[in-house]
């Protein structure tokens, strides 16, 4: 028996929701970052599932570009977090209120 597409999409939905909740609940910016990666991966899984359903390589090509952008995003994001930690010696998103009311 092959696995129905809906199972993959359901798993993707579950992982995406967990990632979003992680972004909101956690206070450590590193964990928030990792939760974003989790949500990105869930979206990638849905894209690959749709690509397999349609028999076209477009879904996989999109995931390829998402991976490249995620790699760039993680590099710059972690560098920003390191710079923030250097200047403040604390690591909690609640401290970073300079640009919000």
């Amino acid at each position: 028996m092959t696995v129905p597409d809906a199972w993959y999409l359901g798993l993707s939905a579950v992982l995406f929701a967990i990632g979003i909740v992680g972004v909101i609940v956690r206070r450590n910016p590193l964990v928030i970052f990792m939760s974003i990666e989790l949500a990105l991966n869930a979206a990638n899984l849905a894209l690959v599932t749709f690509g397999a359903r349609l028999g076209s390589p477009d879904g996989q090509a999109l995931v390829f570009f998402v991976m490249a952008v995620a790699a760039a995003e993680v590099g710059v994001g972690l560098a920003i977090i390191v710079v923030i930690f250097r200047s403040r010696h604390r690591l909690s998103v609640d401290d970073l209120s300079l640009m919000r009311w």
């Binding site: 092959t2 696995v3 590193l30 989790l38 991966n41 990638n44 996989q60």
Partner: protein
Amino acid sequence: MARAAFVLVALLAVGAALGLVIKKNVIHGAMFLVVNMASIAALYYMLGAEFLAVAQIVVYAGAIMVLFIFAIMFLIPGKDETGPDPRRWQRALALPLGALLLILLLAVVAAVRGTGPPAAGPATSGALYRALLTDYLLPFELTSILLLAAIVGVMVLAKRRPG
């Protein structure tokens, strides 16, 4: 057989994702994320996307997670997420809202189930390579510029001294 394998890998992925969000220790969270990435790579393989399965392991479980671990080690966490939570009620709101999001997403999945064209089967890796170097040639080249810009940006940020 395939369904049993899917359920096994899916449980692993969801368990690892929950571990990342629930565990207080950041290193443990990173390890959970590695497990999650590896199980998603297995799912890519089951969907016939061999190239992406390998790329997932190399790029995510390899490169990106090494970067995360490096940052965690560099920043020496442990003092974070202690003390009173200044935004407690907002975080308490996150769980029901997350459950609502999940219900909505699953409703969408249930609504589209069984509709659309019949399953065509996965595209071969050869088709993916051809698409990347023909239809997606411009974005493919722009990706290299993006990565170069990211490298330069990281070096500028890392060189700056505080104060």
